[in-house]
């Protein structure tokens, strides 16, 4: 069995999409109301055409973003770039980060993330979004990195109860 076949994918959450969907649904309800009130069905253009396209797009994009790992490496696959794979033994640092203003404007990285930086190429980092993936899975990945690289300072994402069982936060 190859290393690729052993890759485990971080499970997704619906959290990144809830806010957008709530706004789009609210706008759709408003458009329907306005159409009925004014008897002008032109107001349904946006909900009927543009908003579904947008929803399909951001859901499609979200599905393209995946982080996978096995006992020796972590891999990021995302839209718009080649697959990035970092072997655990080539990790330079693991940091818990929030996007800078530049990142926000460029929209190039997840807002809240665990970033894994390789020692060979500082721009070859892997971003593990703390919103797109279940934190229990992320913590499992971080535990594997800690085990493999005890010389690194690896941040935590989760709270633990008295028994040490991980619980996700909202």
């Amino acid at each position: 069995m190859t290393a690729k076949q052993n890759l485990v994918q971080l499970r997704r959450t619906i959290r990144p999409y809830v806010g957008q969907i709530v706004i789009l649904v609210a706008v759709t309800v408003f458009a329907v109301y306005e159409s009925l009130a004014s008897s002008d069905w032109g107001f349904m253009w946006a909900p009927a055409v543009f908003l579904p396209l947008y929803a399909i797009y951001f859901l499609y994009f979200g599905m393209k973003y995946r982080v996978l790992w096995n006992k020796g490496s972590v891999v990021m696959r995302a839209r718009g770039g080649a697959e990035r794979r970092i072997q655990f033994d080539e990790i330079a640092s693991v940091k818990k980060e929030v996007s800078s203003a530049g990142d926000v404007l460029a929209q190039s990285r997840p807002f809240s993330r665990i970033a894994v930086y390789p020692n060979r190429d500082p721009d070859g980092f892997v971003d593990i979004s703390l919103r797109h993936f279940q934190l229990e899975d992320v913590e499992e990945l971080l535990a594997a990195i800690r085990k493999s690289r005890p010389d690194l300072c690896v941040p935590s994402t989760l709270m633990n109860d008295a028994s040490g069982k991980a619980r996700s936060r909202v």
Binding site: S100, S112, R131
Partner: protein, 279 residues
């Protein structure tokens, strides 16, 4: 592996405690930036505080737990966390409200610059469109490792369409507009796409007197954002706040400039089609 690295590992890992905060080896308390938390007692060691003097900081009268300034996240740690010792984060709401505020600010500046009448619909549309972008910024990065232009353009198109729809709906309700203008929607959508793509490529700008040294407009806006994030916005001087506001607007100049042209064009088209009914 050397002995020193093992020791370093032990220290490093043992420092990270409840919600990843560091533990002070001497007192045994966890450092939450604004104050220390005692895991043994299950509470903070000092009352919560805010930079602006208040009798009960962060109090909500409908939530009695908020009056306990020693409690951790309102005594509900299973669903909330406290990154800096002040209060639990509501970043989605902050993203949406921040986006709405930027949208409204941009709309007001645009209308003021072009001498247009500011309608309730324009404000509502800008707020909803801004909320989509702001909330999306927190949750949905356009790309991870590749070009962001196409993705940012699509989000801009959605923002343009939604803003225009809401604007037309509210203006119809308030009597500022009569009927639906499809061309206006189409123009807003296309130009939203164009400005979205442009905004993702905004260069780092430096303006003497506003940004300084190696800092650019993004850096100025970032400094203000950091202060707001850390809950010390009230400690900002007026000058810094103005710089931040200007910095944010300048950093978003592509959207503002193109948006101004788009609105002027759409208004002209609308007036031509509706016999001057549009404002």
């Amino acid at each position: 592996m050397t002995v020193s690295s093992v020791c370093a590992t032990t220290v490093c890992f043992s420092l990270s405690r409840f919600t990843g905060k560091e533990r002070d080896a001497e007192s045994g308390n966890d450092y939450f930036e604004a104050r220390y938390y005692s895991s043994a007692m299950g509470r903070f060691m000092s009352p919560d505080w805010s930079a602006k003097e208040e009798p009960v900081p962060y109090a909500k009268l409908d939530d009695p737990q908020s009056l306990n300034l020693y409690a951790y996240v309102g005594n509900n740690p299973l669903v909330r966390d406290d990154p800096d010792g002040h209060a639990f984060g509501l970043d989605d709401l902050v993203g949406a409200l921040g986006g709405a505020a930027v949208g409204v600010g941009t709309e007001v500046i645009k209308d003021w610059a072009t001498g247009q009448h500011i309608t309730a619909g324009a404000i509502a549309g800008a707020a909803v469109g801004g909320a989509i972008v702001g909330e999306g910024i927190v949750n949905i990065p356009e790309t991870l490792g590749g070009s962001a232009v196409a993705a940012a353009a699509l989000k801009g198109a959605a923002q343009g369409a939604v803003s225009n729809l809401v604007q037309q709906g509210v203006d119809n309700a308030t009597g500022d507009q009569k009927g639906f203008n499809g061309k206006s929607l189409a123009v807003s959508t296309v130009l939203g796409a164009a400005t979205g793509g442009l905004a993702s490529k905004v260069p780092d700008l430096k303006i003497s007197g506003i940004s300084s040294g190696s800092g650019n407009m993004k850096a100025v806006a970032q400094g203000v954002a950091t202060k707001i994030e850390k809950g010390i916005a009230s400690s900002m001087s007026l000058k810094t706040a103005v710089k931040g506001a200007v910095g944010g607007q300048v950093a978003n100049a592509g959207r503002t400039v193109t948006g101004t042209a788009a609105t002027a064009w759409a208004t002209t088209t609308c007036n031509a089609n509706a016999g001057g009914a549009c404002k």
